[in-house]
Point group: C2
């Protein structure tokens, strides 16, 4: 039991959970994972809500003024949807329906209103989501867009944050860091990879007779706040620790460029910049070879560490020495 809401994200979450009833019929996973999981009609449904706020998640391009890193209304709409879809991917689900609540600056012009919707549509269309409804309000503040999603597991079990075991191998998709160079505006949710990691293979529907052994991730999360911070969610929820190998962390070209080629700075960026929207997940060590052999995606796969019984979150540096993994985190970056 946590007495008050504290100052940290982890403290607030712990406090919040203490306030909620422990068990609600039909609600399988409540606050604390990428999505909530509810049972309905013989399937598991995923529910997610996520806000982006002007000045915090994006700087809005002003017609006339040129601001470095500024987003167009279309990009804001795209990002708002894609971020939330990334959380569905992190459960291994299929996104189905989106609701969008837009709180618009008073007097917002056609460019903002229509651009936003075009971005939302672009994301929905390319990610296979139907725009089911929404709500618009105008006020004397800046733009806030909240996207809520319903997804389906379609017979698979959702991959939670809480299933990692000591000895499990830790993997990450793609390359990390430097998202502020532009990528943060165009998340590419790893839907196909997430589905594969929930044990659904392209062939599994077609040939149920020949059941080759499938890989299934033991835990998974999407990287929104940076590996250093997000891996802690896997550790806390799974009650394990982790050793992350610095030499194995995939550093993006953007991170290296922004670090002026300095590999240490670039590594730090890869660990803490955030907004990578890649998948961070674990598999039993005995499945690591099968995972790597059967990985169905063009997206790079990197084994970056191992979960431990010891609860520490440790970075093993290139020289073999180890230290506590610093959290850093994107929230101070914008």
């Amino acid at each position: 039991v946590v007495a008050d809401s504290g100052d940290s994200e982890f403290g607030y979450l712990a406090w919040l959970r203490g306030q909620l009833p422990q068990r609600v019929p039909g609600l399988l996973v409540g606050p604390g994972d990428d999505c909530a999981v509810v049972a309905a009609g013989g399937d598991y449904l995923l529910l997610k809500t996520d806000s982006v706020a002007e000045g915090r998640h994006f700087v809005l391009a002003d017609a006339g003024a040129v601001v470095a890193g500024a987003a167009t209304p279309v990009q804001v709409g795209y990002k708002a949807v894609a971020r939330a879809v990334s959380d569905i991917a992190a459960m291994g689900g299929v996104p189905k329906y989106a609701l969008v609540a837009a709180v618009l600056p008073q007097g917002a012009g056609k460019e903002l209103r229509e651009g936003l919707l075009h971005g939302i549509k672009w994301a929905c269309d390319s990610l296979g989501v139907a725009l089911a409804g929404g709500d618009t309000t105008s006020w004397d503040g800046k733009l806030v867009v909240t996207v809520s999603l319903m997804g389906e597991m379609q017979g698979a079990m959702p991959v939670l944050r809480s299933g990692a075991r000591p000895g499990d191998a830790l993997y990450v998709t793609g390359a990390l860091g430097g998202s502020l160079a532009g990528r943060h505006l165009q998340p590419e949710p790893r839907l196909a990879e997430g589905r594969f990691l929930a044990g659904v293979t392209a062939a599994s529907g077609a040939s149920k007779a020949k059941t080759a052994r499938r890989v299934k991730a033991s835990s998974m999360i999407d990287l929104s706040d940076g590996l250093a911070r997000d891996v802690r969610h896997l550790c806390v929820e799974s009650k394990v620790g982790v050793r992350v190998e610095a030499a194995a962390v995939p550093v993006s070209a953007a991170a290296l460029a922004r670090a002026g080629g300095d590999p240490e700075k670039a590594l730090q960026a890869a660990l803490t910049d955030g907004e990578d929207y890649e998948l961070l997940f674990t598999v039993p060590d005995s499945d690591a070879a099968l995972l790597e052999a059967s990985w169905p995606s063009q997206v790079k796969l990197s084994r970056v560490g191992t979960m431990t019984a010891d609860l520490g979150v440790v970075l093993v540096q290139r020289d073999g020495s180890s230290r506590e993994l610093p959290v850093g985190g994107w929230e101070y970056a914008l």
Copy 2:
């Protein structure tokens, strides 16, 4: 086809619909009703999202300063949830799960953070909703709270805005107007009444053998923007008009008090103040007597008009003369 998004709510909605695919498998009702309706596992599910923004839907009480009509954080949390639940009621559904996205002013104190959650919990507990998840962000703007809900029809058919026919009787629950006196902070979603109007009676589960004829509303909406404005949604979606009888409109005591006892001013308030969160619905005229005889609620029921084949939205005044019903609307009231 509407060429651009225009300036009005109706124009924007028409434009938005023109942008969306006409039919999506599984999505039975998209934008334009109180909730979206999707098919999942043999039932209809309802999806709703709704934002409240500081200065627009509430004025936040500042510790120390006293502001007339100001809301406590607990009241804001309650209102945010209850408003959205009212839309589930307007489909005849059962609210199940809530997601809350809070965008908090930077440095928001414990009183705001915890008060908000307590209000959210209070609403969820009293309305039978489980808080399934959420998202918190802080920024340098004011408070925005977005609540998204999943509801279930549990075997009943959702009551849409589009089912009214010429000749149908128009009814409203409760008494209208004057919500700014305080009621706007404590919506009482008419869940039991909505369920009854979807054809679900308290007895219908228990005694399926004896099927007494049940009332079912042909169309329904909840009153958030005032009867004068919201009845237009029923008319537009159902392609009918309406004659509203001024003498039959139930005026709240608060509206009368705020109007200094002037019945014409009070009537105007009842028609346009908004935030009543009552149900406005139609039934076939042949069911009107049965409705009134079997009405299961303590909440007052008033027949306020009749739907017409003529598309006008007409107010029949106390002296028998009639005029176009002025829209007014709460949005200029705060």
